[in-house]
Symmetry: C2
Subunit: 478 residues, 2 copies
């Protein structure tokens, strides 16, 4: 039995072993180059070869996903050294497993022949995942080398984004007719000799490939062998279309506990299938990219990417932040006269702005989650806003009082404390209102509220917080 | 065929229909109460009954997960009205589908008998999910009503958290012996008549329930009927132990494309199985709770929870934020003398702090992700810090120059611009260093770096940003 504990431990161990073998290899190479001692050449190149073959044996024994992890965790130079040692026939599988950023570094290191050899090992749906990263001429040659059916499939798969069924489906479908008995179906299975991964059901079609139903293997093995497929199959299976949103498909897989599901075109003709592992990959990728985009990272970043590439990946967010910070700064600028008179205002104003931002982000996170789950809609928006305003009012009075006491203790000015409390409450109310309105508005205009809401909320509560606090202070204290 | 498009549309439609039926029902109830017109009583109660039965028919036709969604999206009063109408025998399934927060509101509305009736519909592993929310006396009675095997299973399941295999496994296992032929195995399947959900493999055990291997249904249907199970089964299946981390299991399911996997105890005795749908639920829940905890929401919050409950859910984060904001405020307080002299400092200081915070959060997000994927370890920490410092230096020089020009344009003071640029660069370097060190340190001490890193980073870059900027200004400008 393959124990999960063992495989977990071995991940970091694997990495450690690979690195130490690489370092020994490097050491000897350096010796060979620098010293050029002919007497020792033979011995050393033997030791050298020994390390290389130990490393190669190590890599060959690992699952492609494990090799991918090692490649991800290595700096560019070492990564390419290891990549050279990976067997050609495993290149394709490993390229599929690594992240986009690392894939580009590996592909850049391969010539056309190596790329074509790697691509030849892959299924059409896997090729579609790899294709966008391939050089144009390699992609052309690849299309040329495929048979008509697979070329059509690849071209169709390439025309869909990763966010729709067409982009995540595969073509490993086993079809049977509905007018045969289970015994005949079983005989057909035995003739095939093996079934594609994740096959939990056969697709029942007529002679025009129109989907009639699905026959789960579970039903195939528990029912009478003399029964007809038509009588045993499920005619009401959940089906998808290539243009369905992958997000909806993920929900359907979770809701109806699916392992595979057929994909049909508008004429109900079977064109492919979606498997639970493609759906899991999609869910995981979405969760990852949500987290990245929430701090303005545009894409997954190779840990060992050049500094310049990293700056490019991150600059957009910082630029936006600079603009919003400048606006907030100008709001403060308006009240410079007041700050000159009561300098305590400068020290207290970031508190009002900061807590407003945090509170607003809590509200936005709730709303974005409710939108994703379909729980937030026009009919309950009114009661949501009322509730959030209530929470903010209570928080404003509680934390505002605490701050009022602290401000009084620090500056001995009870009016300053009252202004602090009023500003805090008003800014939290602003945060609550915007925390509901901004994501709903973004959603209404078809934008993903998960990405930009947080920036907008913080911009509003910063500038708003400074305006409210300094404004109230100017009116009542000066 | 059940079309995904249809089911998606019907989600909000369902909700709309339920609400309108509920409102009609309420309207008539009000009429009956207020007017008390004996003549119309008969007619009105007939109309009333009609609406109720229309609503009931609507609910009966929906999948438990769909009913759960409707319950989530309704305010408390309407939610309980709908809950009353759900058939008793579906209560259990629906309670499993709703969120923890909503489940508590539903359970609070049920008496012991109703709860026991709902629990009786469920499998042992499902009971374990529900049990923590049940009143103590109901749980006792429930344990008492189970047979010895199921009681032992439930007690064992309750002893594991949701983060380990023991908390997500189920007991729907079909076992066979290894010395029978496939033909005998198939005859056994047909005698069973149906297989549990997600059954993609049978578990091969000896007479002491020790796991010998697994027999995928795929192999059962493609191999020669005369072959022995022992010859066809996979003896090297991936197995899990009840105490394995669910997180590692999720990775293994993705890596090895599993649909189900056996769970064994330390003697290799089969105790249960993990299914891909339990793993998907786990992944989804983790992603959700990550998002919530990143803004300091302690748990999923019922949209229609009382204001007071929401305040409690959110207060901890705001309290922490208040403390960090006060520290930053005291840092500014130290430099009040400088601000009095150059009031422009007050307007410019939030820019330095804010951009530092954003940049630090980008770094932290990268590192947290790398830690989760196992790509960050001691051997590459050095090169990560070097890279992040490089990115920050470049960003600091670029954006610092932009700010220097703006500061000069606004205040006509080129020294102020230079201080701005220097402060910006230094704070970004601080952000990069802390962005790597804080999550790595939290990880080293066994804390989840995803939760607290962001607060700590922002605290450091705020106070640090004010200190650096106002400190430099005091040294060079005053």
């Amino acid at each position: 039995m393959a124990d999960i504990q063992e495989s977990k431990e071995s991940l970091s161990e694997n990495l450690q072993q690979v690195i130490s073998l690489l370092e020994k290899h490097k050491l000897i190479e350096d010796l060979l180059h620098k010293q050029a001692m002919p007497k020792h050449d033979l011995v050393e190149s033997l030791v050298h070869k020994q390390h290389i073959s130990a490393l190669q044996a190590k890599l060959d024994a690992l699952h492609p996903a494990d090799v991918a992890d090692i490649l991800e965790a290595l700096p560019l130079e070492q990564r390419l050294d290891v990549w050279e040692l990976v067997k050609v026939e495993r290149d394709g599988d490993i390229l599929l497993e690594v992240s986009d950023a690392v894939r580009q570094t590996l592909i850049a290191d391969m010539n056309s022949d190596e790329l074509l050899a790697a691509a030849e090992q892959l299924d059409t749906d896997e090729l579609a995942d790899l294709a966008p990263d391939l050089p144009k001429d390699v992609l052309q040659e690849l299309l040329y080398s495929l048979d008509t059916q697979n070329r059509a499939r690849l071209q169709s798969a390439l025309s869909y984004s990763e966010d729709v069924v067409g982009g995540i489906m595969d073509f490993d479908i086993i079809t049977i007719r509905d007018d045969i008995t289970l015994e005949v179906a079983l005989r057909y299975m035995r003739r095939l000799g093996s079934l594609p991964d994740h096959t939990d059901k056969l697709f029942v079609v007529d002679r025009d490939e129109i989907l009639l139903g699905v026959l789960p293997l579970k039903r195939l093995v528990v029912n009478d062998l003399a029964a007809n497929v038509a009588d045993v199959m499920a005619a009401d299976a959940v089906v998808f279309h290539p243009e369905d949103a992958a997000d909806e498909v993920a929900k359907a897989f979770e809701r109806y506990d699916l392992v595979t599901a057929p994909v049909v075109d508008s004429n109900n003709k079977l064109v492919g299938r979606v498997t639970v592992d493609a759906v899991m990959d999609y869910i995981r990728d979405e969760a990852e990219s949500d987290k990245l985009s929430m701090v303005g990272l545009r894409e997954e970043e190779d840990f060992f990417a050049s500094i310049w590439k990293s700056v490019q990946n991150r600059w957009a967010w910082l630029a936006i932040n600079l603009v919003t910070a400048l606006v907030a700064s100008r709001v403060i600028g308006i009240f410079e006269g007041s700050i000159e008179k009561i300098v305590a205002l400068a020290a207290l104003m970031p508190i009002v702005a900061g807590i407003g931002g945090n509170s607003g982000n809590q509200t936005t996170t709730m709303i974005v989650r409710g939108l994703a789950l379909g729980q937030v809609a026009s009919h309950n928006m009114q009661s949501l806003i009322t509730k959030e305003l209530g929470v903010s009012l209570l928080n404003g009075l509680i934390w505002g009082s605490v701050l009022a006491v602290i401000a009084y203790a620090l500056y001995g000015n009870y009016q300053l404390g009252l202004v602090m409390m009023a500003a805090m409450t008003l800014n939290l109310l602003l945060a609550a209102l915007m925390g509901v309105v901004i994501p709903l508005t973004m959603n209404k205009f078809g934008r993903d509220p998960a990405v930009g809401s947080s920036v907008l909320i913080t911009a509003v509560t910063d500038s708003g917080g400074f305006l409210i606090f300094l404004g109230l202070a100017t009116i009542f204290l000066i």
